[in-house]
Symmetry: none
Amino acid sequence: MTKQEIITAAAHIIQSEGYDMLTMSSLAQALDVRKASLYYHFDGKEKLIDAIYDHYERECLHLGFSVDFSKDVRTVFSTALAHWKSIFMAPSRSPFISLIQQRREIDERAWDDSNSFRLMIAGQCEAILDNLAASGRLRITSARLMSLMLSTTLYEGLVSQTIDVDAFVEEFIRTYEAS
Amino acid sequence: MTKQEIITAAAHIIQSEGYDMLTMSSLAQALDVRKASLYYHFDGKEKLIDAIYDHYERECLHLGFSVDFSKDVRTVFSTALAHWKSIFMAPSRSPFISLIQQRREIDERAWDDSNSFRLMIAGQCEAILDNLAASGRLRITSARLMSLMLSTTLYEGLVSQTIDVDAFVEEFIRTYEAS
Amino acid sequence: MTKQEIITAAAHIIQSEGYDMLTMSSLAQALDVRKASLYYHFDGKEKLIDAIYDHYERECLHLGFSVDFSKDVRTVFSTALAHWKSIFMAPSRSPFISLIQQRREIDERAWDDSNSFRLMIAGQCEAILDNLAASGRLRITSARLMSLMLSTTLYEGLVSQTIDVDAFVEEFIRTYEAS
Amino acid sequence: MTKQEIITAAAHIIQSEGYDMLTMSSLAQALDVRKASLYYHFDGKEKLIDAIYDHYERECLHLGFSVDFSKDVRTVFSTALAHWKSIFMAPSRSPFISLIQQRREIDERAWDDSNSFRLMIAGQCEAILDNLAASGRLRITSARLMSLMLSTTLYEGLVSQTIDVDAFVEEFIRTYEAS
DNA sequence: AATGAATGAGGTTTCATTCAT
DNA sequence: AATGAATGAAACCTCATTCAT
């Protein structure tokens, strides 16, 4: 059992059963070790939680991203969308998204991470809209305003899965693409 | 001490300290009664939580709303915004918003309520955009798409307070108002 | 079960099994209640220990004492000795003596209490020697020096029971009594 | 790391933090090794404690001592006092004194060692008083009684440091020296 | 000679709950 | 309507110890 495995198992419990169902007991059971063993690897629950944040922040918040704006509108968006999905929906990262959603209102750190994600998407949306509008491929009145709305909607769709982001983006393109 | 007072106190703890800090002990302390007294009013914690949902759902989800579309664009929006703010930010209701935000991923009921709010705003946004676009006062390509983005952004701004909704609406109007 | 009973039971465990054998479990067992019950009466082990000190300090450190110096030397000493024995050896107080002996080197409070007892005996010894020397019934060169030695020896004899205090006092009187 | 170093480190923890703060963990940390390593040297905590007693008993209880009674009173006492201080206050031995003080009421062995020290001082005091009284340099009624009080007071002063032994001895000499 | 990893036992504490009063 | 007293379960954590390497 490595620190890695413990962190992953803990994150999975948080995602599947909820933050307050993560106990040292449930975690030990999930890993098929005894409770005391966990304390060999982490100096208590709080440190473990910190390590979860540390791990996933390293994993998630430094993901590079580049778009080739010379490609057509649909390609630009689908590239970006694939990137975002790989962050928010990939099985290896979604436990973290679930964590910060659950704890946003309570943990400062979850709040900060949540905002980092928002700002990341917002910035990337703005870059895309700016570029595509400037090159006349998208008809958008205010790229700034639109990128706020677009990114908020995408973020919400990606994390809560109440919005079909593929359909939404498709409709967005159809609506704002320059004839 | 009435059921009402208990519910209110519980909701305040959830808002100010987080859902998992609501314990029968902390609640009793907040109300300055002994723990056992709470069991006279509620048959256990689960029933109490149910009662919190019951109470606030009655409070929040049946709030009527009517807009006089003959008024000018700015008035229509500011009326709607005032209404939404009264739901999401009024001290008497914000504890519930905090609750469903915290528990959205975990409690089915919080999830449902959260979606009800979303759908409510979405529907009202769509009605407004439809009407104002139809009467030529707003230049919007697709009222349906725009109301999804607008309502999502407003919802997010109202509950997380990371977006200045007043400034956002003002900019929205400036951008899409028909000259 | 009253706070009183808990304190007494705890002190008895400390005396008979040693300070570090006092656990919430052993205490609960001694009182034939469940561990959790103890927490109804005391907010944790530390507070319980504090309460033990509080209780016995109130019991022990305010014990009045008066000697009738008109009585003969032997009577004066045996009165005083009876008084000291009632403090250090009475079943109701000896657990506390045992506690402060065990913890003198570790707890500030035990150290302070231990010194209070020493000073109490020292003061009373000095008063006795002063008086009996002044009235010519005891031949003592320096009452101050002798009361330091006498009180230290008595204290040690009373708490550790390695010295037979009765025999010691008898010999002391025989040695220093004015012919 | 040698057995010696472990014993010394353990004794220092006992002295500075208290007997119950000596754990295999704290000891390993103090020595900057892993817990398991300690078990290479000692078959468990109990054996380690035994070794501590063994070591310091060998160190302390066989310390030779001789006084040249032909020297003057002050020299005799200051020689003896220097000897006792070297036992009780020397940095290399004081941890053991602290240990037996802390455990006197609990460990048989600490109790025995404590008494050995007492008896040692008592014997040496009696020898000194006997000799100096016999040679007329000290005016003492009963050397036996006085040596009990003197040794008890010295012992207490040396181990608890609540009595200034130098000043005490000086006053003792001034008081009982033959004019 | 040392240690990484694990563990059973037992420690302190908190939780929701009950029940007689 | 309220509460004093108690409790089983389960939380977090520490302890001494073992064992393969």
